[in-house]
């Protein structure tokens, strides 16, 4: 019995969400009185793998097989399932990232395991039951889910558990499982990634704007505020529907759900569908000229005022604060 955490790499590096997954897996290993191993796929340098020890991964399986350089969920799932077998792991943890969402279900089927996607808390072990809480109804509720299978897969939401240090020395072990060519039928042709922007699902701070901005030409001040904060930019559905901003920025029930530490909503009234995607943000700031905007009911801080007057003031204050 042990816990296995899959550590997703991007260009050979680990992001904060990976350290969160390792911290979370370590806490489960401690709670169940077992050990933690990690598995990395895609040729990560030893120095980067050593970082995982800081969060409690005593052993790291390093898969450097050339065909597995790019993420192909079918092949990666087979490798993770084989590693789980090798490590006698009955709990598999990964990040609920875009790639994780394509990977975790395949791992679960391979292991005949129940899967909790988007876990928000540590499992509770209650009278032999293994219970994990996750978001449901697009942020309008939580579901406490019991994993009844022998093997269990948990995909942890970014920014839900935090990073917790528990230093050990990570022993790196090469692992070279056989790869079936049929598992590599999907071929990655191109990867386009904006490196100068904070990615929205991982972001700790988010500045979001809606129709109150009147047009795409007015997003300059939103981007300036976001840049100063080191925040990602987001938008409401009408804004992405009108092509003022890309769909990838749309947060809400039919967009993406986020739970940053700070969500600043500017010129967004707060329809129930929008609130669903952002209500688990830790602190919500609402700036809207309509004092009756429903968003104020779920906000921690509010400013009733015109975005075109308020936002420049915030930018000025932030520059002064940072100076």
């Amino acid at each position: 019995m042990s816990v296995l955490v899959y550590v997703e790499q991007v260009d050979g590096k680990f992001k904060k969400s990976v350290f969160e997954a390792v911290s979370y897996a370590k806490a489960i290993a401690d709670k169940t009185g077992t050990s933690l191993s990690a598995i990395a796929i895609g040729n990560v340098a030893d120095s980067e793998l050593q970082e995982l020890g800081k969060y409690g991964a005593a052993k790291v399986l390093n898969v450097a097989t050339a065909e597995l350089k790019n993420f192909v969920n079918q092949a990666y799932a087979a490798v993770i399932a084989e590693a789980a077998q090798k490590e006698s792991a009955d709990i598999i943890v990964l990040s609920n990232s875009f790639s994780g969402k394509g990977l975790a279900p395949r791992v679960a089927v391979k292991l005949k395991a129940g899967l909790v996607d988007g876990a928000v808390e540590l499992p509770q072990l209650d009278g032999g039951k293994f219970l994990v809480k996750k978001g449901a109804f697009s942020g309008k509720a939580f579901a406490v889910t019991e994993l009844t299978s022998a093997k269990k897969v948990i995909a942890l939401n970014p920014n839900a558990f935090g990073v917790k240090e528990s230093p050990v020395t990570a022993v790196i072990e090469p692992f070279s499982p056989a790869v079936q060519s049929t598992d590599l039928a999907a071929i990655v042709k191109d990867i386009v990634r904006a490196t100068d922007k904070v990615s929205l699902p991982d972001a700790e701070l988010v500045v979001s704007a809606g129709r109150g901005l009147k047009g795409p030409e007015n997003w300059g001040m939103i981007e300036e505020l976001a840049n100063l904060l080191g925040a990602a930019t987001a938008c409401s559905k009408p804004v992405s529907d009108a092509d003022w901003r890309p769909h990838s920025e749309h947060v809400g029930q039919t967009g993406i759900a986020i739970s940053p530490n700070l969500y600043i909503a500017i010129g967004i009234s707060g329809a129930i569908q929008h609130l669903a995607g952002v209500s688990s943000s830790k602190v919500i700031v609402v700036i809207n000229k309509d004092p009756e905007a429903p968003f104020f009911k779920v906000a921690d801080y509010g400013i009733v005022g015109d975005a075109f007057e308020v936002v420049p003031k915030l930018i000025e204050a932030l520059k002064a604060h940072q100076a």
Binding site: V10, K15, N73, Q74, A77, F98, K101, G102, P105, R106, A108, V109, A113, G114, L115, D117, G135, A136, F137, S138, G139, K140, A141, F142, A143, V144, T145, E146, T148, S149, T182, A185, A186, K189, D190, I191, V192, S199, L200, P201, L205, H247, S248, T254, N261, L262, I272, K282, V283, I284, F296, D300, Y301, G302, G305, D306, V310, L314, A317, H321
Partner: protein, 245 residues
């Protein structure tokens, strides 16, 4: 070309979510059910790909008879026929297994789903169907082109996109960008009544997961309003009080 599109029956996006039976069941009283919005995107793209007699679209739903109005909606949007696997869709593992079992009999070139259902938000079914059938799956795509043998898909990744090519059968889960959701025409609504809807018995599969309780999010405290002319003070409060910047 044959395309199978998975349709989930979900509460309307404006629904206020409440629970019954000691918070163990979703309260369906007075709730309007709809085709999952992401599934509508998948369905719309499937219809586009099959336009001009290039193929047929089958909509599949795992659900009890109460879901039939939602399936008829999918037929009204433009699916050629529909299948209902007669069972309560108790979880993604169960649902994906049923869809995969049905797909084995149908020789479908592709199976499309929405990126996730807006009720349980699992985003699991597509990749599980792929694994049950041992074929590729691509989750959360923003674009899907198909030349009759090879599909080119753009999948969302943090801060960008990845272009993936698949030759042969595959499963994909569709997000915004794949297609504009089609709205049923009057002719579509009329013809939906007479399109074939086959009911299929579910296959047994072991239980791996169950929901034991629902919770509603804790209420937030009252909003602290800052006068607009003191907007700068917000930065101080976020720094010293909320401690988020």
């Amino acid at each position: 070309m044959k395309i199978l599109v998975c349709i989930s029956n979900v509460p309307d996006t404006t629904t206020k979510i409440t629970f019954t039976n000691d918070n163990t069941q979703f309260n369906t009283a007075g709730v309007q059910f709809i085709v999952n919005p992401y599934d509508e995107i998948a369905l719309s793209r499937a219809i586009e790909l099959c336009e001009g007699g290039k193929g047929t679209v089958t909509a599949i739903n795992v659900g009890e008879s109460a879901t039939e109005p939602t399936i008829r909606k999918a037929l009204a949007i433009g699916a050629d026929d529909a299948v209902r696997i007669d069972a309560f869709p108790r979880d993604a593992y169960f649902t994906a297994f049923q869809i995969a079992e049905y797909a084995k009999s149908g020789d479908f070139d592709m199976i499309l789903t929405g990126r996730e259902s807006i009720d349980y938000n699992g985003a699991q079914v597509a990749a599980m169907v792929g694994e049950f059938l041992n074929i590729p799956s691509v989750s959360i795509i923003k674009k899907l082109d198909y030349d009759g043998t090879t599909a080119t898909l753009e999948r969302e990744i943090e801060g960008g996109k990845e272009v993936v090519s698949v030759t042969g059968k595959f499963v994909a889960s569709c997000a915004e960008g794949v297609a504009e959701p089609k709205i049923p025409t009057m002719r579509g609504i009329m013809s939906a009544r007479s399109k074939p809807l086959t009911v299929v018995t579910a296959q047994p599969i072991e239980e791996v997961i169950k929901i034991v309780q629902f919770e509603t999010p804790p209420a937030r405290g009252a909003v602290k309003l800052i006068p607009a002319d003191e907007a700068a003070n917000l930065i101080n409060l976020l720094h010293t009080e909320a401690k988020v910047i």
